[in-house]
């Protein structure tokens, strides 16, 4: 069902946890649908110095969170915003069709955290969308 890469990231997820002095925090998904991703970032000079995540969800939700955090760590905010769910999926050697929404959540979680950072810096960023279980 899952690729070896997905299993490996599920078994040994990278960047799990919180960042106490994070200056960017984003959360997407909802408990009713069965998956929530929360991303913490420490951004300095527009570069993501550190990123951590907490996820409630299935194996794919945990693996995509892990992979997405790895992919944006050390990147600039603009580079991180370009991360697509497709890139996360490819990095994990694919996902089963019914799990693609997990990679979408991972992409959105990154964006949500960065949007939070921008809001904190006085930028005019629209609110995150409401989540419904139509993945």
């Amino acid at each position: 069902m899952y690729s070896e890469k997905v299993m490996e990231h599920f078994a040994n997820p990278r960047n799990v946890g919180e960042i106490p002095d994070a200056n960017a925090v984003g959360q997407v998904g909802n408990a009713k649908c069965g998956d929530i991703m929360k991303m913490y970032m420490k951004i300095e000079d527009n570069v993501i110095k550190d990123v951590k995540f907490k996820t409630f969800g299935c194996g794919a939700a945990i693996a995509t969170s892990s992979m997405a955090t790895e992919m944006v760590k050390g990147k600039t905010v603009d580079e991180a915003l370009k991360l697509t769910n497709k890139a996360v999926m490819e990095a994990l050697d694919g996902l089963p069709k019914e799990k693609i929404h997990c990679s979408v959540l991972a992409e959105e979680a990154i964006q949500s955290a960065i949007n939070d950072y921008r809001r904190r810096n006085g930028e005019d960023v629209p609110e995150d969308k409401e989540y419904t279980c139509e993945h």
């Binding site: 599920f10 799990v16 649908c33 069965g34 998956d35 929530i36 907490k54 969800g57 019914e98 799990k99």
Partner: protein
């Protein structure tokens, strides 16, 4: 730890099957030569054995099918089609297996009306609920003997009395129950009963429908004259031999197995409760719970992740979470007992069997708390809970 899903094939059962793949390969319908007649005679003996095992008064009330699912489909569609001049109303519950629920939904699309009875927080339906749902147009009541997810044992005998009083056909899906409780069709008073061999250490791909003499249902599978013209297809003699043998053993060893499963189940439930906070047992506490089933919800975590981590530790289990089932909603059974979505997503079904040992149970109890803790430590819902 997933014996509600399937069970291992017993050596004695396999031994009983092999002759029908080798020497006695005849078609039970080919009566004009010896190997065919041998098959026919063997089939009669198997039918006799099954009738005896479930205490069916007549051998010709036993009909072999290709699965428990087929038996359920046949019972419901067959009774509906044969009685549609009398009425179009069917009564069932919200927690039936999909073999019943999806069949009922299919019939709704073809003009039948179905009442899906609510169940209480433990999964029980009452005979009174059934009685008050009966209308002039009711032609069939179908309610499972025991629930496959949360182990609730329904009051089948009492419901059968209600059905009888109102002259409505009563079918019960006993697929999960066989081998875990006494099943006596005469004592229960049911008109039809389904079972599936692989749930009690028999082979996959063979089931049975008991149809009490006098109950008329349409065919599901049309073709040749097998099963007294009621179910076409060359008999799966080896499979039926396996079903008959497995059932015979299940009935003989019933008391011993029930006692063993109960002991393992209770050890498991106690071990989990003592070691994992924020968990709830889904289904009845003890009375009215199947001897082999334990179903828990663990707050703040998701079921598929639990299954994957258990699998990495060599433990096979099952979950009612949406992710685990590949659908958007968690299990219909967990929804029906009133669990909120997020609690249902964190469900885990562990089902023991006669070959489950105390060591197996203790191993699960040693692994599960750390699995749940690890996932909770990863879960944003758990923040601030500790």
């Amino acid at each position: 730890m997933d014996n509600n899903a399937t069970t291992s094939l017993k050596k004695e059962v396999l031994d009983a099957m092999i002759p029908y793949y080798t020497d006695i390969y005849g078609n039970a319908s080919s009566k004009f030569y010896k190997v065919g007649r041998d098959a026919e005679q063997a089939l009669y003996k198997m039918r006799e054995s099954v009738a005896k095992s479930i205490n069916a008064p007549n051998v010709n009330e036993i009909y072999f099918t290709g699965s428990g699912c087929e038996a359920d489909n046949w019972a419901v569609k067959g009774a509906a089609m044969a009685n549609r001049k009398k009425g179009n109303h069917i009564i069932t519950t919200k927690i039936e297996h999909h073999a019943i629920l999806n069949t009922c939904e299919y019939l709704e699309r073809h003009g039948f009306e179905v009442t899906y009875l609510d169940i209480d927080e433990y999964g029980f339906v009452t005979p009174e609920q059934v009685e008050s749902a009966i209308k002039d147009t009711t032609i069939l009541i179908t309610i499972m003997t025991a629930n496959n997810e949360i182990g609730t044992i329904e009051p089948i005998k009492e419901i059968a009395e209600v059905a009888k009083r109102h002259k409505v056909i009563f079918h019960t899906d006993a697929v999960q129950a066989i081998g875990h409780m006494k099943i006596d069709v005469k004592d229960l008073g049911v008109d039809m009963l389904s079972l599936s061999a692989h749930k009690f250490h028999g082979p996959k791909g063979v089931g049975m429908l008991y149809i009490r003499n006098g109950i008329r249902i349409d065919n599901l599978i049309h073709g040749g004259g097998q099963e007294r013209g009621k179910r076409a297809a060359t008999e799966n003699l080896a499979g039926i031999a396996g079903l008959a043998k497995a059932l015979e053993i299940a009935v003989t060893d019933l008391d011993k197995n029930v006692a063993h499963c109960k002991k393992m189940r209770d050890r498991l439930i106690k071990g989990i409760r003592d070691n994992i906070p924020y968990c709830r047992l889904n289904g009845p506490e003890d009375e009215g719970r199947m001897c082999n089933n334990a179903n828990f919800s663990f707050q703040y975590v998701e079921g598929e992740s639990i299954l994957m981590m258990l699998d990495m530790n060599g433990i096979a289990a099952s979950s009612g979470s949406a992710c685990a089932s590949g659908s958007l909603d968690p299990s219909h059974v967990l929804m029906a007992i009133g669990l909120p979505h997020e609690i249902a997503h964190g469900s885990l079904r562990l089902s023991v069997g006669e070959d489950t040992t105390e060591e197996d149970v203790d191993y699960v109890v040693s692994v599960l708390p750390s699995v749940i803790q690890r996932l909770r430590d990863m879960s944003p819902l758990y923040e601030g809970v500790e």
